[in-house]
Amino acid sequence: RDNTTFRAQLRDDPDVASAVAAIRALLGFLKQDRGETIQGLRSSLLAAIDTLSRVDSSVAVSSGGELFLRFISLTSLEYSDYSKCKEIMIERGEIFLRKVSLSRNKIAKLCHPFIRDGARILTHAYSRVVLRVLEAAVEAKKRFSVYVTESQPDQAGQKMAKALRKLNIPVTVILDAAVGYIMEKVDLVLVGAEGVVESGGIINKIGTNQIAVCAKAQNKPFYVVAESFKFVRLFPLNQQDVPDKFKYKADTLKTNQNLTEEHPWIDYTSPSLITLLFTDLGVLTPSAVSDELIKLYL
């Protein structure tokens, strides 16, 4: 039942982040739950999150689910009476969803002053947050041009280019392999993130790490835009440390036993390559990210 709600949400509103859709589905689940105890609620929520990640095993769904669980624990600590607790949870859940729907606009407001007039921006694959930032820059009457990587294997870059052309931004689609070639022409790199890890690094579409390394080598600023609900409690030290369930699509995980034949969909970019992160909590340096996570989870 949650599957269908979740899938329906993703289908109806392609603009919504998958983490938000997951949280909305979980909130709906919470409203319908007939349990009497917190423990019961937690275990049924864990089962629900598991079901959701079987539909879409991305980092975003995982971080959204964990955030929701944390939200439940925090609220249950304040109120011992279960039914009152549940009411408060539902109320706060709605407020939370309202706040996060504004987060993209907050990020756009923080980020667009960093785009100078006449800038050449490089971005990777399709990110709705980056699109919103560039939209805000256009509204601020800035002139700039964008290079988008094609981003194989799903050609997400073409989707991004189409959306940018609708905003009348001059855009060029380049091969993933051409990043090193184009880097000298570019003024700044702006990417989204599927997840932001505890060290301040990011998990994003495969190819992001390469772009970050090239940008560092040529001394170009590498900016990341991400909403705060994407912060996850992972601390990968290298590419191997990222769990398999994030690297491959849910269907692949179900059907394929030998994952060494599969191509991963995401990679990990280390914090030393990132200049600044723009989130709805403000402009953060990578070292500030772990502080935020500690404040939440401790």
Partner: protein, 351 residues
């Protein structure tokens, strides 16, 4: 009431005079003096201004603050002091309103999840607020007095005997720092003269009066001499939110040379120089003065054919800096974000 109207007009006169002095430029004002003058002016506004609620006071301070920062954007201490006062008002209001002191005023994931509703609107009037805010500003002024001494006290931990220290231009904080160390240790100082204003000369004269072995050299020789230097200690005009510096022109060269030779670069700067701005498009830090010093007007014909610029400040990225020594101790550039969250409230980053 004639008394209040008189005070009101006197206050606006003083603000006008301050703004005019900021805009006028003239001789280089000392950052600490600017900070102190700003705070005194803000204290007067709190004491004599027409307001009854915290919200109105904050709007008043913000308005005056915007005017003052617009007069001279490169004097970031003015904006910093305004933000400190705004934070003080928020804290005092919170204390009177009954909110616990530990409650974090910052945005955080935690707050997003647990908060129940709208934000503070600062509209309840509290009579003791005026006195409390003025008292807190007085405490801040006292803190301001002691910053240079606090920094100088840490000198002995960082400077050892027989070291060669390099500095650039004239920074009063670094002067105090080196003088304090010279009382117990013997070391040499090389001062880069920092053309075109050559403030390094004045620094060298003052240091040699304290019997510190000082050498002055031109900016072009910085890289050549760097291999002999143990430490580079500099002052700065502003510290930005990402840990970068806006310092006197020539500092970036010095920082790059130090990085190349793996020489530690220590920045001595008090906390009131920390500004929550990021280096971005506005580039309001760039200040150009008359290029008279670079190429005098007597050169005549050549001036018609070329462009001459004389920038005052330089941007130094955070990767080149090893340590910040401030009145609250030593910190790494990556920790600056934390210090900022303790000094200012995120809603005030944009005045």
């Amino acid at each position: 009431m004639p008394g209040a109207a008189e005070r009101g007009s006197e206050l606006s006169e003083q603000i006008e005079a301050f703004v005019a002095r900021l805009r006028g430029g003239g001789e280089r004002p000392r950052s600490e003096d600017t900070a102190r003058q700003t705070l005194s002016l803000l204290r007067k506004i709190v004491a004599h201004g027409r307001w009854s609620r915290a919200g109105e006071l904050m709007d008043l301070i913000r308005r005056e603050g915007q005017r003052m920062t617009a007069a001279q954007p490169s004097e970031t201490t003015v904006g910093n002091m305004v933000r400190r006062v705004l934070k003080i008002i928020r804290e005092e209001y919170g204390r009177l309103h009954g909110r616990s002191e530990e409650s974090d005023q910052q945005e955080s994931l935690h707050k997003l999840l647990t908060s129940g509703g709208l934000r503070e609107d600062f509209s309840t009037p509290y009579p003791p607020l005026r006195a409390n805010v003025i008292e807190a500003i007085n405490e801040l002024l006292i803190e301001l007095e002691g910053t240079t001494d606090n920094i100088a006290m840490q000198a002995l931990e960082h400077i050892h005997s027989n070291e060669v220290i390099m500095t650039i231009g004239y920074s009063r904080t670094v002067e105090a720092f080196l003088k304090e160390a010279a009382r117990k240790r013997k070391f040499q100082v090389i001062v880069a003269e920092c053309a075109p204003f050559c403030q390094g000369h004045e620094m060298a004269v003052r240091l040699s009066k304290e019997n510190i072995e000082t050498t002055v050299m031109s900016d072009a020789a910085i890289f050549a001499v760097m291999s002999r230097v143990n430490k580079v200690i500099i002052g700065t005009k502003t510290i930005l939110a990402n840990g970068a510096l806006i310092a006197v022109s020539g500092t970036h060269t010095l920082a790059l040379a130090a990085k190349h030779h793996s020489t530690p670069l220590i920045v001595c700067a008090p906390m009131f120089k920390l500004s929550p701005q990021f280096p971005n498009e506005e580039d309001s830090f760039h200040k150009f003065v008359s290029p008279q010093e670079v190429l005098p007007f007597t050169e005549g014909e050549i001036l018609a054919k070329i462009n001459v610029h004389c920038p005052v400040f330089d941007y130094v990225p955070p990767e080149l800096i090893t340590l910040f020594i401030s009145n609250i101790g030593g910190n790494a550039p990556s920790y600056i974000y934390r210090l900022m969250s303790e000094l200012y409230h995120p809603d005030d980053y944009e005045l």
